[in-house]
């Protein structure tokens, strides 16, 4: 099959050709950007936090009538209430371990700060940004993170301090990502680091494999894996507890935990809706917008492809109708059915090809526009190429039905007057 007759025929339908090419170009531009957005959202949603995320509960509560001051007596009173709760929770059937905690991954309640290798350098001169988690000696077991070097906290490491007290712990466990950033030689263990511009070092006693920071919004994207864990019970008139239940006991513990805490001390508030949440709930909440966006983009892409396909079918059908007689003549002159089929397929390939070339340009332009206006990354070439394949296949699939109809035009048509 040679191209000149096809091109000559297309010249007669300039407007239609331009329209199909334009539609394919726009579809390509939007579909490959949408697939890229879907992929980056899904990639975000699927990354593991580094915790064992099953069988994990978070309880948030506030005491009523508790001392709210920052003086030593108030703090000790708050601490004794905290320890009373911890003891009761640990004794609860179905519970395997419990830690007080300031925040957990994806909760979007963040204790941000900085880590430095020199004393007295605050955020400004810090070597890395980090998010702090504070718990007691059961914190690693409760969160289910893996210690890859050094040792866990022991009961002797654990201290308590007021919520706003900005003194820093003597020992910390940090994530491997943070350790590698601070000490690229891999000798972080046993070294001292300065937290939040402190003048007294905190010693790194262990490294955990992976632990996501407590926020999933874009401002933490530069330090998503830089977590620091300190063995500190924070005292104030509210507290959060992370609870790891025995396998299969999550729902039972979840239902019973509020009543247990009310029995320990009825003078407290636990929110009916958000007071006790499983980690699965917290994860779903954190990524709800991302998932929603991905689904919406997916649906729009499908409808878009359907509309474009319908447009191609419609326009090609008309062309086939219009060229009924010409097809008959060609058949009478010896063209086989397959030749007619190939003619229309090649014609579509040509139009879709031109559209796709324009579409690649549009796709890149659209990506640049998105980078400028939204927090988006540069789209890798593979998305453009896969978009290209999708629209070309779509074009061929859409043209097949009318082309088949064309190939079925009998040669005898040529002999009839139009």
């Amino acid at each position: 099959m040679n191209l000149p007759p096809i091109i000559a025929a297309l010249r007669k339908h300039k407007a239609g050709v331009v329209l199909i090419a334009l539609q394919i170009a726009l579809t390509l531009a939007i579909v490959c950007n949408a697939i890229f957005i879907i992929y980056s959202r899904v990639e975000n949603v699927q990354r593991p936090t580094g915790m064992d995320e099953s069988n994990l509960l978070l309880v948030e509560q506030q005491w009523v009538g508790a001392p709210s001051g920052d003086d030593a007596a108030s703090i000790q009173k708050q601490d004794s209430m905290l320890r009373e709760d911890l003891a009761a929770l640990r004794a609860m059937p179905g519970v395997s371990s419990v830690t007080p905690i300031n925040t957990i991954p994806l909760l979007n309640s963040t204790w941000g700060g900085a880590v430095a290798l020199k004393p007295g350098t605050d955020l400004r001169g810090g070597d890395a940004r980090t998010v702090f988690y504070y718990g007691d000696d059961q914190v690693l077991a409760t969160l289910g993170v893996h210690l890859v070097a050094g040792r866990n906290f022991n009961a002797g490491d654990v201290t308590n301090k007021a919520f706003r007290d900005n003194s820093e712990p003597d020992v910390v466990i940090i994530t491997k990502a943070l350790a590698d950033k601070l000490f690229p030689k891999g000798d972080a263990l046993g070294k001292g680091i300065y937290l939040n511009g402190d003048t007294k070092p905190s010693t790194i006693i262990g490294e955990v494999e992976r632990l996501q920071v407590s926020s999933n919004s874009s401002w933490v994207s530069a330090f998503t894996w830089n977590s620091t864990i300190g063995p500190v019970r924070l005292n104030s008139n509210f507290a959060r507890y992370a609870i790891r239940t025995k396998p299969g006991q999550l729902d039972t513990v979840r239902r019973g935990v509020s009543n247990l805490l009310y029995r320990v001390n009825p003078m407290r508030v636990i929110d009916d809706e958000d007071g006790v949440r499983s980690f699965a709930d917290i994860r779903a909440e954190a990524y709800r917008a991302d998932v929603g966006m991905a689904v919406l983009m997916g649906v729009v892409c499908l409808i878009l492809l359907a509309v474009t396909a319908a447009g191609i079918v419609g326009l090609t059908s008309f062309w086939v109708g219009q060229r009924h007689r010409q097809i008959g003549v060609r058949r009478a002159l010896g063209a086989r059915k397959i030749d007619i089929l190939h003619y229309f397929q090649l014609e579509n390939l040509l139009i879709a090809g031109v559209g796709a070339v324009i579409g690649i340009g549009l796709a890149i332009g659209l990506n640049l526009l998105l980078i400028q206006n939204f927090e988006m990354d540069r789209m890798p070439v593979v998305y453009v190429l896969s978009g290209l394949v999708v629209v070309m296949v779509l074009g061929q699939a859409a043209v097949f039905v009318p082309a088949r109809r064309a190939s079925n035009v009998p040669p005898v048509v040529a002999t009839r007057s139009a």
Binding site: A15, G16, L19, I20, L22, Q23, L26, T27, A29, I30, A34, I37, Q62, V64, G65, S68, G69, D70, D122, L123, R124, G125, A162, R164, D165, N166, G197, N237, V269, D271, E285, R288, A289, G292, M293, L296, M297, V300, I303, L304, V307, T308, A310, G311, G314, L315, S317, F318, W319, G321, Q322, L370, N373, F374, E375, A418
Partner: protein, 433 residues
Amino acid sequence: MFAYYLDLALRSLKRNKVLTALMVLALALGIGASMTTLTLLRLLSGNPLPEKSSQLFYVQLDPYPKDHPFSRSDKLPWLLTYVDAMNLLHAHRAPRQAAVAMSRMKLTPTTTQKRPFFSDGVMTTADFFGMFEAPFQYGGGWSAADDETRAKVVVIAEALNNRLFGGANSVGRMLRINDQDFRIIGVLRHWSPQPHFYSLYLGGRNYGDGDAVFVPLTSARAAALDPINEFSYGDGNREVLETAPVIWLGFWAQLPDKSAASAYASFLTAYAQQQVELGRFQRPRSSLSTLMHWLDSQHVVPDNVRMQTGLAFSFLLICIVNTVGLLLAKCLRRSKEIGVRRALGASRPAIFAQFMVEAGLIGIAGGAFGLLFAEFGLWCIRRQPAEYASLAHLNLSMFACTFAVALIASLIAGILPAWRACVITPAPQLKSA
């Protein structure tokens, strides 16, 4: 004539039902998607106080050290320190000013045996209600003197009044906030400006229900209520928020006209300069933005919503291109019919008009179905857990807008085919027939 074109258009559309359905459906999907997202976008980027927004100004200063990472971004810190907020407040350079912070407040009902619960509360100063035109159902706000004396008074919202006091006039009754008794001095009528402009960066919600409790800032702090958000920018003691290097207050000023605004702006410049001389600031930077400018510059509208709107309109564009193609193919097929009409004396404008009527008809059908799709889309949004979900309703102007967009889209789509139809020369068409 119009009725005749309508009749011709209907016949032509009926002749090719699948194609007509395809065009209408594509257009309806495009219209439905764009109207859904446009409704949402308009809602979210609306003016919370249309009558007054031009008089309301948001104040920013820069207490951050030069080498702080945030300073590298060249943006001004979003909030003020307590010291600066109080200095501005006490300088009385604007008819009305207010410092605002949000707090999660623990409320203990004194009338019923209900358990204590948490609610979003506002800590602010006396001018807040007058400045933002919050309407009172009972009682009123507090005075500047109450701010000074840390009076234990509170203004509550209608919803909370209904919940605790069954909607009765509760002025004079007590409410326990964070274990301290506050006397109710006012009950607001339903008030929830959208977006919640005053809680931006303070940790409250940007959209949705109004806040339940309003407490004088000084009294709230005396009751140990903490702001939801605090951003620390330097070393030093952070235990006492009032003196700490922490920003945690939004600051608003009402300035009646341009000259007052420029006077206030130069006052701010002088203030920042003075603070540099005192050694409190390192850079004499300040800014005064109107309410709407402040909301725009901070991108209150979620990125996802803006992106969805863009997507929906590109979708509509493709649907229009699609419709142009199909209408064009259709009209070329009818060359003979057009030839006959032209030979019988129809003028070119008449042919053009006939085809435009046909396109318009498709547009109106597309608009009607598009409206259904838009209602469906908004229904889906209302079922989302987003904080703005409950606001998603189609109002009358968007209803009209849907039809206008549909009609315009279809007429644009119809121009090329109609033009191609009217330039057809009748003779060859008649000959070959």
